[in-house]
Symmetry: C2
Amino acid sequence: MDSFDEMKLLLLSNSTNAGQEYLGWPKEMIREFLVKHGIKKCLFVPYAGVTINYKEYADTVQKVFAGLGCELESVHNQADPAKSVRESDCIVVGGGNTFKLVQLMHEKGIMEPIREMVSGGTPFIGWSAGANVACPSMKTTNDMPIVQPVSFDTLNLVPFQINPHYLDASPLGHGGETREQRILEFLEVNRKTTVVGLREATALWYDNGHISLKGIRPMRVFRYHTVPVEYEHGSDIDFLLHPEVV
Amino acid sequence: MDSFDEMKLLLLSNSTNAGQEYLGWPKEMIREFLVKHGIKKCLFVPYAGVTINYKEYADTVQKVFAGLGCELESVHNQADPAKSVRESDCIVVGGGNTFKLVQLMHEKGIMEPIREMVSGGTPFIGWSAGANVACPSMKTTNDMPIVQPVSFDTLNLVPFQINPHYLDASPLGHGGETREQRILEFLEVNRKTTVVGLREATALWYDNGHISLKGIRPMRVFRYHTVPVEYEHGSDIDFLLHPEVV
C-alpha cells in the first residue's frame, strides 16, 4: 500500500445540502484542496448524470470550478477518454446514479486509467456516486439499479466502502429497511469489509498517507459483528487504511 | 400474451407493516388467494434472506401458512431445486434483499422453471423482493447491491415494473433522491417501461386475465414523459397488461 502515500483524495458525501446552491457546502473545502495541490485544470466525469445531460451537468460544475479559479473539461467531449484521463491534472467525478456511472466508466475504458493515475498521485475529487467509486466496489450505493454495469468493481483507491448520504432515520411508519439494516446486510455477505456511513455535509480528505474526516457531523463505521462506532472531526481514523491489522 | 390468462399472481408490496406481526396485514388476502385456487401446499423461496438464515426464514413463513391451512416446504431443502419447482402447487417468494434473491434464483437454476410453471398456471405469491422478481427485471428495487447477480433479468410474468414499498416522502432535509426521482431516472434509460409504485399494505392480484389493486392506498403509475397517475382500489388497471397499446 506504499502507493497510497502519493494519493490525494477528496471524497464528499454529497454535492448539495437540501435548499442550498449547487456544491454550496463543499465549495471552500474544494478550493482548499485545489490550492493545496496547485490544481489549475480538472477533467470532469459526468457519467452519473441521468435526468441531466452531460453537457448541462458539465456546464454546471464548470461554473462552480471557474469561481474557484480552476478550468474544467468534461471527459464526454474527449475523443479518447482514457488518453484524456492520462493527461489530466485532477479527476473530478460527479454524483448521480452510481449504476450508470459504473457502467459508463467500464464501457469507456477509464476505470483502470483513473485508478493508475490517482494511485500515482493525480488528485481526485468525487461526490456521492463519485465518492462511492473510489472504493473497492459500488456495493454500498443507495441508488436504483436502472442499468446493469458489466461489473460492480470500482477504483479501489481506498480499502473500505463509503455509504454516501448516510442517514440515521427512516420515514416514520415505513416498513422498508433502514440504512443501517442495509449496511448490516452488506456486511453479512462481505464480512471482511469496513463500511463508512458518511453523513451529508461531511467528507474524507486523504493526503500524505493520512485520512481525515471533514465537516461537523460524525461518521459511523460498521464492521461485521461489531457495534458501529462514531468518529468525530479530528479523530485519528487512519485505521481505515489498514483493514488487515484491525 | 395468451398465456397470461392461465396465470394466478398475488404480488404484495411488503410482508409486514411497521409495528405489526409478520405477514399480518396480508394474511387474509393470502388466505383468500389460497382458498380460491385450492392450494394446500406451497414451495417457498427464501433466497432474499440475508441476516436471517434460510431455515429460520422458512420456519417463520411456514408457521403463518400453517395457520392458513397450507403446508409449506422450502426450496433450499430440496436436492433438485428446479425439479421441486416443476412439482409444486404454488410458488411463494419472500422478501429481503433483491440482489441476493436474483443472484440465487439464477445460480440455483430456478428462474426459468418458475417462469414456465407460473405462466402455465401454477399460482405465485411474492412480497417485496418476491413481487419485484415477477417483473421483467429487478431494476426498480430499493435494495443495496450487496452481491452482483449474473443478470438483472427476472421472471417477466407481468410486462411492467413494480417498485415495492413505494414511498412519497423523503426524510426532512435530506439531499438524496426521492423515490419518485429514482423512478424518473429509471424511465429516462428505460423509456418504454411502465412502473407501478406499490405502497405498503397494497397488492396486485391477477387471475382470469385481469389485474386489480388490493388495499386501501392508491398506487402510482409512472411512464416516461407523462405526469404520474394515481389509481384507487376498484379502478380498471388492465392497461398495465397491454403496454404496447397505451
